[in-house]
Symmetry: C7
């Protein structure tokens, strides 16, 4: 869960949880139809903005919007970078 | 009414009240035609934003707009997560 | 004029005045053609926002825009919920 | 010039000056073609917003944009209600 | 250069300089093709907004954008009323 | 490099550097195809906005966006007037 | 890595890292199909805005959005100039 990226300002780097490969009826969904996961784990946290410290910390399991963040590839692995305000909740 | 979700900032998690299954004329409306409920119960409350404490608390029965919030599935159950400012009133 | 709704923040609950049922020429207008009233009575007032107390109080007769507010049904009766800033004047 | 309306916040109630009924060539323009007047008289003034007192007072003759304000009918007479910032100048 | 108009807030009243009637090749351009002048003279200045005194004064020759301001007719003469921030420079 | 224009607020007057008349292959580009220059020299500087002094001074060589600013003709010469924030860098 | 450009305000000048010339399957991609790099090196940093010092310094390796910044050609070399807030992270 450690990655060599220091997000700027109020950004966090999130590793998306893998989408479930099977639906309730047990059918394998081909790769392109998989719903993009909305759950992930925080792997890096920025220093926050002036007078606004960060609430999230590395390791937090979070829920975020389907279209939140920007995909970043770091050392061959896909992450999402987004602002803390794009994250709905800790689960 | 307890759920393991900690909303961030000024967000609240709302469990929508079930829509009425019958219309005034007693006809069963199939599932897709049911009007999305506008009434719900607050099941989790964020810590609020800087200098803006939250007004709502867990258990409050609330009215909110038809298109407010984002659907979140937690432990197989559907909730709505929205900002406190999207909630019109306590009933 | 009492209703069990507590508007949040700077919102007010307004009961619209009934539209006139007759035009100047004495013809009954069917229900769907009635112009939506722009006059109403305040039936519930929120606590206001931080450092911004409310001006309106329950019982005030107010003028508001034709498209202001959101319709809310409370105990079988229709109301409008809107922000105090959507209300033009007290009459 | 007295009317029983108390505008809220930074709003003013304006009675539009009548449009000229004749053009330069002396032709009577039918009612619907009359250009909406841009000059009017202030008939009611709101209390202003927090820390922003009002500049206008009742009786001021003002110039405002053709599409400024919202029409309000009070006791059978048409007025315009608008924010003070929609008014260009006192004449 | 005196006119009986008191602009509100940070507005100024500008009298546009006449457009040149001849092009470089000496051809008279018909009235509708004349480029709207971008140079004018300040004829009235508002009191400024809270904590923002005005920079311009009556008599200043100014440059402004082609589409800046609103046309106002005062005593049969055309003026432009615009915010000081719409004026680019004093010349 | 001296011009009789006093920009208002945080505006600067920029004289664009001439575009290169030849491409790398030595072909003369006709006038309309010349790329608009993005480099220029500051010829006049406004007083700045409240609590925001200006960084640029007359004579600075600057880089700015292709579509920044408004063209102004002063004494038969073309300039660009733009806000200091439209200027990317001093070179 | 030294360049004679002083970015204004909160801007940074970034030298993009070269895109990989080969894909995973070893095929040379022609120049126009190369994905624009999202990784680069900071080569110049502005002074920051009032009360907002800069976080980045010259030499930082940064990640930024595909469409961030404006291309600037300085001494025949291409750079990107962007605001620090357009940069996601230091790597």
């Amino acid at each position: 869960m450690s990655v060599n990226v220091k997000p700027l300002a109020d950004r966090v780097l999130v590793e998306a949880a893998p989408a479930e490969e099977k639906t309730a009826f047990g059918i394998i969904i081909p790769d392109t139809a998989k719903e993009k996961p909305q759950k992930g784990t925080v792997v890096a946290v920025g220093p926050g903005k002036k007078d606004e410290p960060m609430t999230l910390k590395v390791g937090d399991s979070v829920l975020y919007g389907k279209y939140s963040g920007t995909e970043l590839s770091v050392e061959g692995k896909e992450y999402l970078i987004m602002r803390e305000s794009d994250i709905y909740a800790i689960v």
